[in-house]
């Protein structure tokens, strides 16, 4: 009696597992149906669950845009980014500045591998930033001020506030000029910032300063006298930076966790020395727009239908002859958060490339996503490539290449009747005629 029951239990467990697998795969399928570039599962790591409440407006805006947030303590021993070789999350929000080490199987390398696998991350530090957080930031090309007591101070461009007077609350308005990162609507009000500054690594060309300080800022301990020059001063200090890796993984690094807090999102701001008081700081717009960018709701391009053919033909040939006229076209779409919209730009370029570009031409667009151009194949034969290398500020990079051989003229494709050669022809044919007549004369003359 016991044995069958045991079997039944096993079957039941199997069924359950199956159900889980089926439901998860159907969830994946539905994500694929939407066709977005990124999934919606985001892991939020905090070092105190109170952050979930004190930053609830930011999280609510993510959830409102369809993200599935999983809040975990950074030292949760069950923490794991992947299981059975599959990543459990598509994005990471690291709001745990002071955590000395992560729980579970997660460590600095695991986070970096997560990014290397093409996932996105928002990292916020503050003056309690641990070596772990600094290490991750360094790997992303951002070096936080090494002095643990230092904060960004600006005695000229601070936010006037009744409650604090040490000018560490920065009203930042030196934003990057990029509609794709910050949205098309201009951020009018200054962005409040209190935290540590960082410098972007000059040798890393993937990092961009999104929010920089004014020339009068410096990074130092506000409580003690300065003895040596601060390591970070002036506009070299970056408050918020973004990095887009070559695999299009996006990372946002902020030196202030408060930047995302409900407090800063909802409070008013008045820049010192300015008459204008903004009812609301620019933070809400700033964090919403930058998070849209980080999680690939904006600025993600895809290219489809790469086509090329001879002018007057529709089929794609396997080879071109030198001096052929050809047409090249590609369709490019941008993800708008909900659907793929035609991408409109006038700077997409195609290269006809063999060792170096022989032809580099800007594609014209019909504003419906199709970019096309036509040109003459160079009179050099060999194996060429059609290359589109599209790297624009804030957009994901497009790198398309298609190989195509180019052959020279065949022997019978050259010009046959060359006027300047007529004297030679006339001479040969007259000689031949004379020979014909001479043969009669020579043989039969008497």
């Amino acid at each position: 009696m016991a044995a069958p029951r045991h079997h039944l239990a096993v079957a039941l467990v199997l069924l359950l597992v199956l159900a889980v697998v089926v439901s998860s795969s159907s969830a994946a399928a539905s994500a694929a149906d939407e066709g977005g570039p990124r999934g919606r599962r985001v892991l939020v790591l905090v070092d105190d669950l109170a952050v979930r409440s004190s930053h609830s407006a930011f999280f609510a805006s993510l959830q409102g845009r369809g993200f599935d947030l999983d809040f975990r303590l950074a030292d949760d021993p069950k923490l794991s980014l992947h299981r059975y070789g599959q990543y459990l999350y598509d994005g990471l929000v690291l709001f745990a500045p002071s955590t000395p080490r992560f729980g579970g199987s997660v460590d600095q390398n695991a986070v970096l591998e997560f990014i290397d696998a093409g996932h996105d991350m928002i990292l916020a530090a503050d003056s309690s930033a641990s070596d772990l957080i600094r290490g991750i930031a360094t790997e992303c090309g951002v070096d936080f001020d090494e002095d643990p007591e230092a904060m960004v101070i600006d005695h000229i461009n601070y936010a006037a506030s009744d409650a604090e007077g040490d000018h560490t609350l920065i009203a930042g308005d030196d934003l990057i000029q990029s509609d794709v990162i910050l949205g098309s609507k201009k951020i009018e009000a200054p962005v409040l910032f209190r935290g540590i500054g960082h410098a972007v690594n000059p040798s890393n060309s993937l990092v961009l300063k999104v929010l920089s300080t004014s020339p009068s800022a410096y990074s130092a301990n506000p409580k003690s006298k300065l003895s040596s020059p601060p390591s970070l001063t002036g506009s070299a200090i970056s408050l918020v930076s973004v990095m887009q890796a070559r695999n299009n993984a996006r990372v946002l690094i902020s030196g202030s966790l408060d930047l995302f807090s409900n407090r800063f999102l909802k409070s008013g701001v008045q820049k010192a020395g300015s008459k204008i008081r903004h009812e609301k700081a620019g933070n809400e717009q700033f964090v919403t727009e930058t998070s849209k960018w980080v999680f690939h709701e904006r600025g993600h391009l895809k290219a489809v239908n790469v086509k090329h053919n001879k002018v007057g033909d529709t089929n794609e040939p396997g080879m071109y002859r030198i001096n052929d006229d050809l047409e090249y076209s590609v369709e490019i779409y941008e993800w708008s958060g909900t659907s793929w919209k035609p991408y409109v730009a006038n700077d997409v370029q195609v290269q006809f490339y063999m060792m170096s570009p022989y032809v580099l031409k800007t594609l014209s667009t019909d504003k419906k996503g199709v970019f096309s151009t036509s040109f003459k194949v160079p009179d050099v034969y060999g194996v060429f490539q059609f290359k589109v290398e599209y790297q624009r500020l804030g957009y994901t990079g497009l790198s398309l290449s298609k190989q195509i051989p180019v052959r020279p003229y065949r022997h019978n494709e050259y010009e046959r009747f060359i006027t300047s050669a007529y004297p030679y022809y006339a001479a040969s044919f007259s000689t031949m005629g004379a020979f014909f007549i001479f043969s009669f004369v020579y043989l039969y003359h008497k």
């Binding site: 409440s53 005695h155 009744d162 000018h167 060309s205 800063f264």
Partner: protein, 667 residues
Amino acid sequence: MAAGGLPSSATLLLIIILVAAVAVAPLASAVRPVSDAHRSTAAELFAASPDGSFGDLETTYEAVRTFQILGVEKDKGLIGKACKFAAEKLASSSSSSSSPAKDLFHAVRISGVLKCSVDSGVYDDVATRLKAVIKDTNSLLELYYSVGGLLSVKEQGRNVVLPDADSTFHAIKALSQSDGRWRYDTNSAESSTFAAAVVKNDIVKLFDTIKSYDDGTFYFDEKHVDATEYKGPITTSASVVRGVTSFGDVASGKLNIPGEKVLGLAKFFLGIGLPGSAKDCFNQIEAFVPLILSLPSKVFSLTSKDQLKVEVTTVFGSAAPPLRVNLVQVLGSGSKVITTETKELQFDHDNNIHYLDIAPLKIDVGKYSLVFEISLQEPEHETVYATGGRNTETVFVTGLIKVDKAETGISDNDAGTVESVQKIDLQKDASISLSANHLQKLRLSFQLSTPLGNTFKPHQVFLKLKHESKVEHLFVVPGSARQFKIDFLGLVEKFYYLSGRYDLELSVGDAAMENSFLRALGHLELDLPEAPEKAPKPPAQAVDPFSKFGPKKEISHIFRAPEKRPPKELSFAFSGLTLIPFVGFLIGLMRLGVNLKNFPSLPAPSAFASLFHAGIGAVLLLYVLFWIKLDLFTTLKYLSFLGVFLVFVGHRALSYLSSTSSKQKTA
């Protein structure tokens, strides 16, 4: 003690949401009473979904509870909907839900908060169902919900008697200890209907373990950091307060908790913005009403002659009883005592503010700690209100700093035979121009004085030298030195031997300085020696990230130019010329009087001779065709046939001709 165990998770959640509702209003973490800002934010954060409900029961409860605590008025329709929602659950939850106790618990609490009119029979029914759960269950969470639910039902005025209280309590206790998560703070207190006496001592003890921040704010911290349950001091403290509150509900005795500690806790909660827990705490422990002393502004400008203003209110912002506020001590930086003279602040009845002019205090710009003392005017209030004795507040006094005697120049040696001294007006950007070599020194001097005439040493005095190649050098100008010198001799290597134009920039700033400035001073032509081979290279400057974006220059292939050809007419003319010899040949033949008398007359030889010449003609025609259209392979193919044919007929024709000619010779 540690944070809430299993039963406290619901409480934690509630508290977290309460934090969410209120942690947003004040910009800085200053301790301020609850204000309207909290209320509007709470309403915003708990914006109901279009159908009027807040989602599930738990969220609904959290929302209505928050509104109740903060005194936010919601319209009747919403309350009605929430009530209906709760009542439905109460009436019907016998069925589907996996955890009936949890649903009942939340539903009862919602109706309690909203004072919904629920049939008393329903409550009886609920009570019975909950008791059934208690009997059957062995899960701590279920017990928590059931007992909590019963407690709420009791609050509604129903008489609930738990028949087997002792055994239930033991069950809870046993359970808790068995999984190692016995917590004084929540489950024992929440269940304390049955064991008030046991727990009362624990609670008083609990307050002995309270920790404190430097500014007299108290909080509870966990002693055992249970990795899965670590919640930080905020939630722990909140749990403790919840526990104490529940205990206060059921215990008749008065808790003997020092007023000072209550005040500290209140400050902690206000500091992080958690008035919900704070209110629970102070409503229940009726020993003291804590009075919060706060400064509306912590920055005072000597220029605009700000008054020192102090507000004293209860936690929720209502007015305090008549009292006196004295400023007893002013401490400067490094706890240096500036003055200990006691000054009483005047009271402004209209704005409910105590104020004091700071001018007579004779304090200069800077950062100060002010120590206040509150004394109640009526002695009977002393048993009601907790004042917390001395309150210390940190303030900044700012003012305009006078900048004068600014001059700069280049000197040759330490004795200071200054070659060129130029006065600078630091009120605006200057454009001096200096030149120096590595043996000279740059001098800079200026004087900063406070409104009271003292020398001022700002936090930030930087002189920046920026080379054309964007290499920057920053010098901290010590506030104490009258004259600041840069000796280029020792800095040649640090300057990477870079001669040329350096822009000078001076920035002076301080928290207490209202006219912090950043001025361009002009430029300095520096002549440094040639760099030796092993000299350090200047650091790489960040390339403009924008440069790698943007379209590249178009490239179009340059095709090989076609070969030069003579004009057509010339070609035709030369073609004609080449035909002239042929014409001459024909004319010559005519002149010679060519005949074909030797052509064979016999039929066979004449046929072979004709075929031979036709063959030659065909070969020549083939050459013409080769020129016009045929390719080499076809031509060679035809030529091979023609060749064989030609050899054959040629041989017959020519052998006949030679035989006839030899005959003639012999004849």
